[in-house]
C-alpha cells in the first residue's frame, strides 16, 4: 500500500511497478527518506537525489525530485561537482554497500574528509543485490555469497566507523525494522551543515537471505530486531555481550567548517574582499 504522503513524492508518470523484489528492504528506506523530507517541508525543486548503480541506486527514478542515476560508485563525485556549482541544493545520495565501499570507497572517504554538505544513505544488505548475490565489502566473515560458496574469508567494513574516521560530521545507523529511527536520523542529517552518513541495514531476501539460510523476510527482519543495540544501551554492555551485534542510533555528531562555505570565502579573498 502506498500512503498518501508517499504518493505526493512519486513520479506521476509510467515508472511503476518498481524493480525491487517482494520483501526487499529498499522500499522501507525510501519511505523513511520521503517522510523526513516531508517533515522538513523542503522544496522538491531544490532536492537532488543522486545514486550509483545497484538495486538501491534505482531509487531516484521513482521520486519526483531532480534525480541523477550515475555510474557505479561515483554518485558522490558527481554530487561534489553539482554541489559546488549549486550550493543551494540539498543533495541526498543513495547507494548500496558495494557501490559505496568497494568501487566508490575512494570517493566515500574523500567526500567525508572534505566535509561537503550532502547526506549519504548507504543501504547495507551485506551483498551485491543487482548482480545476483556476490560478496561485498560488508558481507560478514564466513557468510555466503555466490562468489564465496565456502564462506567469506574477508573481514567486513564497519561503514559507520569508516565514515567517522574519514571525517563525516554526522553518522548514524538504523535498520528497516527501526524505520522510525531511520526517519529521525535522515531528518537530522539533512539539517547538518556538512557530510552526513546514515547506514541503513536492509534485508535482501532474494540473495543474502536465500544464500544464508534465512527462511523468509520475517526472519531477516527479526534478525535486525534481535541484533541491533541502541547506542545508549551498548555503552553499558561488555564487548562479549556485544559480540555479533551492532549499534543503532546516532553514533557521531560534531561540527566542522563545510567545504562549499569555505570555498565561497576563498572566492571572496581571490576577488580582493575579506
Amino acid at each position: 500500500m502506498i500512503s498518501e504522503k508517499m504518493r505526493k513524492y512519486l513520479r506521476p508518470t509510467k515508472k511503476f511497478p518498481h524493480v525491487w523484489c517482494p520483501g526487499c528492504g529498499i522500499g522501507t528506506i525510501m519511505g523513511a527518506i520521503v517522510r523526513a523530507i516531508d517533515k522538513l517541508k523542503l522544496d522538491a525543486d531544490k532536492i537532488v537525489m543522486v545514486s550509483g548503480i545497484g538495486c538501491t541506486s534505482r531509487m531516484p527514478v521513482y521520486l519526483d525530485f531532480n534525480t541523477l542515476h550515475t555510474t557505479h560508485g561515483r554518485a558522490l563525485a558527481f554530487s561534489t561537482g553539482l554541489k559546488l556549482a549549486r550550493p543551494e541544493l540539498h543533495i541526498i545520495v543513495v547507494t548500496g554497500d558495494g557501490d559505496a565501499c568497494a568501487i566508490g570507497g575512494n570517493h566515500f572517504i574523500h567526500s567525508a574528509r572534505r566535509n561537503i554538505e550532502m547526506t549519504m544513505i548507504v543501504v547495507n544488505n551485506s551483498i551485491y543485490g543487482m548482480t545476483g548475490g556476490q560478496v561485498s565489502p560488508t558481507t560478514p566473515y564466513q557468510a555466503y555469497g555466490t562468489t564465496a560458496k565456502l564462506g567469506n574469508i574477508e573481514r567486513p567494513f564497519d561503514i559507520c566507523d569508516l565514515a567517522i574516521a574519514a571525517g563525516a560530521i554526522y553518522v548514524g545507523r538504523a535498520t528497516c525494522y527501526h524505520s522510525t529511527l531511520m526517519e529521525k536520523l535522515v531528518y537530522d542529517a539533512l539539517q547538518k551543515d556538512g557530510f552526513s552518513v546514515i547506514e541503513a541495514i536492509a534485508q535482501c531476501p532474494t540473495f543474502f537471505g536465500r544464500l544464508n539460510d534465512f527462511k523468509n523476510v520475517v526472519e531477516m527482519v527479526n534478525w535486525q530486531k534481535a541484533n541491533a543495540v541502541p547506542v545508549k544501551k551498548a555503552e553499558k554492555m561488555s564487548s562479549e555481550e556485544l559480540e555479533g551485534k551492532f549499534t543503532i542510533g546516532l553514533l557521531h555528531d560534531v561540527d566542522f567548517p563545510e567545504y562549499t562555505n569555505l570555498y565561497r570565502k576563498l572566492m571572496k579573498r581571490a576577488q580582493g574582499g575579506g
Partner: protein, 371 residues
Amino acid sequence: MSGAEAIASGAIAAGLRFFAGYPITPSTEIAEILSIKLPKVGGSFIQMEDEIASISAIIGASIGGAKSMTATSGPGFSLMMEGLGFACMAEIPIVVANVQRGGPSTGLPTKVGQGDVLQTRWGTHGDHAIIALSPSSVYECFTITVRAFNLAERYRVPVIILTDESVAHMRETVVLPQEGEYEVIDRELPTVPPEWYLPYDRAHGGVAPMASFGSGYRYHITGLTHDAHGFPTSVSEEVDDCIRGQIEKIIFNLDDIVEVEQLYMDDAEIMVVCYGITARAAKEAVEIARSKGIAVGILNLLTIWPFPVQLLQTITEQIRVAIVPEINMGQIIREVKSSVEGRCKVVGINRVDGDNIYPHQILEKISEVLS
C-alpha cells in the same frame, strides 16, 4: 604565453565556471592556472581524488548549469573513459583537455606523443559520437578551447581538446582575441512549462534544451538507455532513438563541427595531412618545398573527430600522394586511407621515441614520393 595558459584563458573566455582535476604531467599547468583564475570570476576549482572523480564532478557541475572542464594526460584519460561515456549517453556538455604524452601506461610523462587519437574516438565502450579538436599553436589553443565549449553547449556532447606536450608547453608571443571578437554559445534552456519539458526530445534538430538541476524542471538523468523523458527504457524504438539520436546530432551537423585548415591546396598534388604539433613541422616543410616549386599542400585537422571523410574524398580527386606524419605508429592514417578509398597513395611518417617530427623528415618523405 604557453599553450596551457592559452587553454586556461580560452576556457575562462568561453564561460568556464567549474574545473575538477587530478595532477598529471604534462597537463598540470592548466589546473594550476585555473585554480587561481576561477575563484576570481566566481567559478570553482577542485582537486579531486582521481580522474574518475574529476570527470564525474564536472558532469555534476554541468548538470547544475556550470560550463565545466577537466584536463589530463594519457593515464588519467584512460580513467576518464567511464565518465566520457556517461556524458555521451546523458548528453551533458563537458570539455576535457588531453595533453598527450608518450607511450602506453605511465609511458613517457615529460615528452610528446599523439598516441591517444583512436582512444579519444573509441575509448569509451558502446556506439557513440564524440567531438575532438586539435590546436597546433598557442593562438589556436585559445580559439579551439572557446570552440570546444561552444560545440559542447550547442550539441550537448563531451568535447575533447586533443593536444600534446609540445603544444601545451610551447611559448609564443600572441595577441589573444578580445571579448566580442569571438563567439560564445550557451546551452539552450527550456522555455516550456516544466510539465511539458522533455530533456531528450529530438524534435528540434536533435538536441533538446537542457534544464539545470534546481531551476524548477525536475527530471531524471541516467546512463541507462532512456526515453525522451530521461526514464530508463529497453523498448526497441526508444533505445534506437536514444543511441542513434546521439550519433545523428553530430553526423548531421558536420558542416558546423568540422574545421580544417587548408594551405597551398589549390594546385597541390601531394598533401600533408597533419594535426597538433606535427602541423607546425608540416607548415615549415611545405613552405620550403613550395620555394623549390613542389606542388604540395597541407590539410591541418583542427577538428580531428568527427573525421572529415567527405572533404578528403573530394580533395583526393587532384592528389597523388597523402603524407601523414604522426607521433604514433599510425592512427589517423587509417581514417585517411579509408576515406580516400584507394584514389591516392597514402604514406605515413611515424615516430614513437618521445621526440617531435621535424620539417626535414617531412621534406625527405616528399622527395621520396616524388622519385
